[in-house]
Symmetry: C2
Subunit: 436 residues, 2 copies
C-alpha cells in the first residue's frame, strides 16, 4: 500500500450567500450563509485528502484557525501509521493535553477535528481507490473497529462486542450491497418548508417533490403556532395522509412549551418532531418524550456535540438518532454512535443539507445498510438540493433514493472554480459583494 | 450614571510557562501552560473593562480570534443600554444567528463569550466604583435578575421565582455582609497534590498549608491506583482523620472503572470525588453516584459547558456544584446556575486556580453568601497560590479564608509588566524561550 507522508495543510474559508433567499432559514438561524472550513491535506505523493466541516458564515474564520492549530498533531506522520492506529491518532487529535481545555470534544475544536479527520478518510479512500462506503465495507470487522476510540462509552459498547456484531453480519453483506446498487438508499426532502418560504412556495415545492418520487417531507416549525398549523394543513393537503411529514423546531422551545406546542401539531401525524429544545438537553428531551409518548416520536442529533452526548440521548431522549458528518469528530466517532444506536435498537436517520453533508452521510448510511443494521426500515437520509453543484462528485438521487457513489474518496472535493468564486473574503463573489 | 460608548477591544494571548515545574498537572492535562485570552474593552471615557478566560497554552490563539469575532455585537453600544438590558445583550452574544452554529454555548465560542461578558461586568463595576460582589449585592432583586437569560431553564427556575427568593432574603443581607467583612469566606487548597509532585513535596505542602490554617485539602488521583492509595495515606497521616480531603480524577474513568476505583479510595473518607468521568456525562455521573451513594459524594462543574448542562448535573449527577467563572458565559449565566442550585438545595463550591479564577469566583460566592444561600455551610472556594502576583488586585487570603476585595471591578486587571513579559509569542519571556 502507498505510504504517503503528510507534509502540509491548506485550510480555506468558503461561504455561499444563501441568506439572500432564505434558503436554510429556520426558527433559530434566520439568515444563514451556508459555509465550510475546507481542508486539503497535502502529502509527498500525488494523493491529497479533502475534508470539511459545515458552518453558517460568521465564525468560519475561527474554525479555520482551529484546523491550522490542530494540524501539527498529524504533520510529518506517515499515512500507514495513522490508518493502522487510527483510534490512537483520533485520541491525539481530541486529547492534546493543552488544546483539550478549549473543548473538550465540542464546538469549534471538534468541528475542526471533524474537518481534518474527514480529510484523512478521504485521503485513505483515494489511496485505496475506493469510495469511503466501500472502503468501510471491505474492511475486516477487526480493522474497522480498530479506528474507534471507545473512551467513555465502554459501558454501552466494547471493542469486542462491536467486532462480534460485524462478524455475525458477514454472510448477509453481499446481498445488502447488491440491493443497494439496485435501489439506492431512501431520502426525504427538507426543501419544501424553510421558515422564510411563502405558502405558495411550499405548495409548489411539495408538488415538485412528489413528482420526483419523494414520500417523506420535512418542514420547519416553532416560530408561530398559527403559522405552523396553517403550513402543516397545507402540506398534508398536498401530500395526503399516508406520506411522511416531519416537523423540525430547531431548538426553540422550553420543555413545557414543547409539550404544549407539539400537542397541538400532533393531529397532523408527524413521523417525528425534531430538536424540540436545547441540543444539550438529553434529560429535557427525555421529559418531553415521556409526556408525549402516545402521540409523537422525537429526533435529534445534528447539534449533538460528541459520542458521550449521543449516548445520553440514546439512553433518555430520542426515538430517531440524527448523526451529522461534520460536528462530531469525523467518521471514527460517528461509527461509535452507529454501534451504540444499533445496540439500543434506535434507527439512524442522518442529518444532511448544508455544504457537503449529503455527500458525506450517504457513505456512512450505506456502510450501515451493508454491514451493521442491514436494513433501511424506518431509516432515511435527509436531502436538500443545495451546493451539490460545487462538488466534483455530487450526490446522485434517483427516484428519491441516494445511489452509491463510485468515485474514490468521501465525495468532499470542491471544484476549483467554486473556491475561486466563494473563498472568503478573497473570492470573486465576495470581492464584488462586500458583506458585513 | 456615566454612559460610556464601547469603541474598541484589545485581545491578548497571555501564557505562563507553568508546565516547566508540573504545577497544575493532572491525569488529563499533564503539561499545562496556564494561560488566558485577555480582553480589554475600550470606551470613549476613561473607563476600561478587563476580562479573561482561562486556557492551558496551545489553543489560546483560537479563543483570542473568537473574542475579536464576537466583539462587533457590542461595538458602538452604550454601556447604560447594555447594562439595563443585559439579558438581551447576553442573548445577542450567545445567539448570533450565524456564530451560534459553531457552539452553541460551548467550547471556544463560549469561553470567548465569558471573557467579553466578564470584561463588561468589570467595566460596569468600575463605573459604579464598586467591587463586583458589592455591585451585585447592592442591586435590587429585580435589577439583578434582569441580567439573566432564562432560556431552557424555565422549568426549574423562572424570573419571578428568582426575584421572590432574593426579596425574602433582604432582611438578612446586612448581617451576612458584616460577617463576611469580619471572617471572609472559607477556602480549600489544591496545592498539596498535583500529580507531578513527589511524595516529599506532598508532605511539605500539607504541613505548610496546615500552618497557614487550611482545614481542607484536594489531591489529584486517577493515573495509577497504587499511587493514589499511597498518596491518600500520606495526606491523611499528615492532616489527620477530621480535616477534609477531596479527590480529583479529572475525567479519566469509564463509569464502571470509576465505581471500582473510588470504592478502593473510599476508606480515606473523601469529602467529595471530583470529575470521575466525562464532563459531558451527567447521566453517567448519576449512575456512579447511585452505585456509590452510601460511600462518597460527587462534585463536578469546571468543564460543564453551560446552564443547560449544569441543570442536568443538578437533576442527576452531583452533590456539589463547581461553577467556573470563565467557561460558561460569564456572570449572567453563572447567576442562573446559582439560582438552580439553590432551588435544588445543592451547595456551590467554585472551581478556581488557573489564571484569575480565584480572583473572579470570590465575588460570586460572596454575593451568594450575602444574598442567596446566605450560608457557608458545606461551601468552600478552591484556592491555588499561582499567578496572583500578576494581577493588580490579587486575592487576599487570611486564616485560609478569602477576604472581600475592596477595589472597584472584577479583580481581573493584569499588571502591565505581566503583559510585557508573558504576551505570546511577543512577550520578553517567550522571545527568550521559544516554545513549540
Amino acid at each position: 500500500m502507498i505510504d504517503a507522508k503528510i507534509i502540509d495543510i491548506k485550510v480555506q474559508d468558503i461561504r455561499f450567500p444563501t441568506s439572500l433567499h432564505y434558503h436554510g432559514s429556520d426558527a433559530m438561524h434566520t439568515d444563514p450563509d451556508y459555509s465550510c472550513a475546507y481542508v486539503t491535506i497535502i502529502t509527498d505523493t500525488e494523493y491529497e485528502g479533502y475534508g470539511l466541516t459545515f458552518t453558517l458564515g460568521r465564525g468560519t474564520e475561527i474554525v479555520v484557525l482551529a484546523c491550522k492549530s490542530l494540524f501539527k498533531i498529524i504533520k510529518n506522520k506517515k499515512t500507514t501509521k495513522i490508518f493502522s492506529n487510527f483510534a490512537l491518532y483520533w485520541r491525539k487529535l481530541t486529547c492534546d493535553t493543552q488544546l483539550r481545555w478549549i473543548g473538550p470534544e465540542k464546538g469549534v475544536i471538534h468541528l475542526a477535528t471533524a474537518a481534518i479527520v474527514n480529510a484523512l478518510w478521504d485521503l485513505w479512500a483515494r489511496i485505496e481507490n475506493k469510495p469511503v462506503w466501500k472502503l468501510l465495507t471491505d474492511m475486516s470487522p477487526k480493522e474497522l473497529v480498530s479506528t474507534i476510540d471507545f473512551r467513555y462509552i465502554k459501558s454501552v459498547v466494547t471493542k469486542e462486542q462491536a467486532i462480534q456484531i460485524l462478524e455475525n453480519n458477514m454472510k448477509q453483506k453481499e446481498h445488502q450491497e447488491s440491493e443497494l446498487q439496485k435501489k439506492g438508499f431512501p431520502a426525504y426532502t427538507t426543501q419544501v418548508g424553510w421558515l422564510g418560504y411563502s405558502d405558495e412556495q411550499v405548495v409548489d415545492l411539495c408538488n415538485s417533490s412528489l413528482e420526483r418520487g419523494f414520500t417523506a417531507f420535512k418542514i420547519k416549525v416553532g416560530q408561530n403556532l398559527d403559522d405552523d398549523i396553517r403550513r402543516c394543513e397545507i402540506v398534508r393537503r398536498v401530500i395526503g395522509p399516508e406520506k411522511k411529514l416531519m416537523l423540525d423546531a430547531n431548538q426553540v422551545w422550553e420543555i413545557d412549551e414543547a409539550v404544549e406546542w407539539i400537542d397541538r401539531l400532533a393531529i397532523y401525524k408527524p413521523f417525528w418532531v425534531e430538536e424540540p429544545t436545547s441540543p444539550d438537553d438529553s434529560w429535557g428531551h427525555g421529559q418531553i418524550r415521556e409526556r408525549l409518548k402516545e402521540k409523537v416520536k422525537l429526533a435529534t442529533g445534528e447539534m449533538c456535540a460528541n459520542r458521550v452526548m449521543f449516548r445520553q440521548f440514546l439512553e433518555m431522549g430520542i426515538d430517531y438518532c440524527q448523526i451529522d458528518a461534520a460536528r462530531i469528530g469525523g467518521i471514527n466517532e460517528i461509527l461509535a454512535v452507529y454501534f451504540m444506536a444499533h445496540i439500543k435498537n434506535l434507527p439512524i436517520c442522518p442529518h444532511a443539507g448544508g455544504v457537503g453533508l449529503c455527500e458525506m452521510v450517504q457513505h456512512l448510511q450505506m456502510w450501515d445498510y451493508i454491514c451493521l443494521s442491514q436494513t433501511n426500515e424506518d431509516r432515511m437520509i435527509e436531502y436538500v438540493d443545495q451546493q451539490h453543484e460545487q462538488f466534483e462528485d455530487p450526490v446522485c438521487i434517483k427516484n428519491a433514493c441516494y445511489m452509491p457513489p463510485s468515485r474514490p474518496g468521501y465525495s468532499t472535493k470542491l471544484k476549483d472554480e467554486c473556491i475561486l468564486e466563494y473563498a472568503y473574503p478573497e473570492g470573486n463573489y465576495w470581492k464584488l459583494n462586500k458583506s458585513e
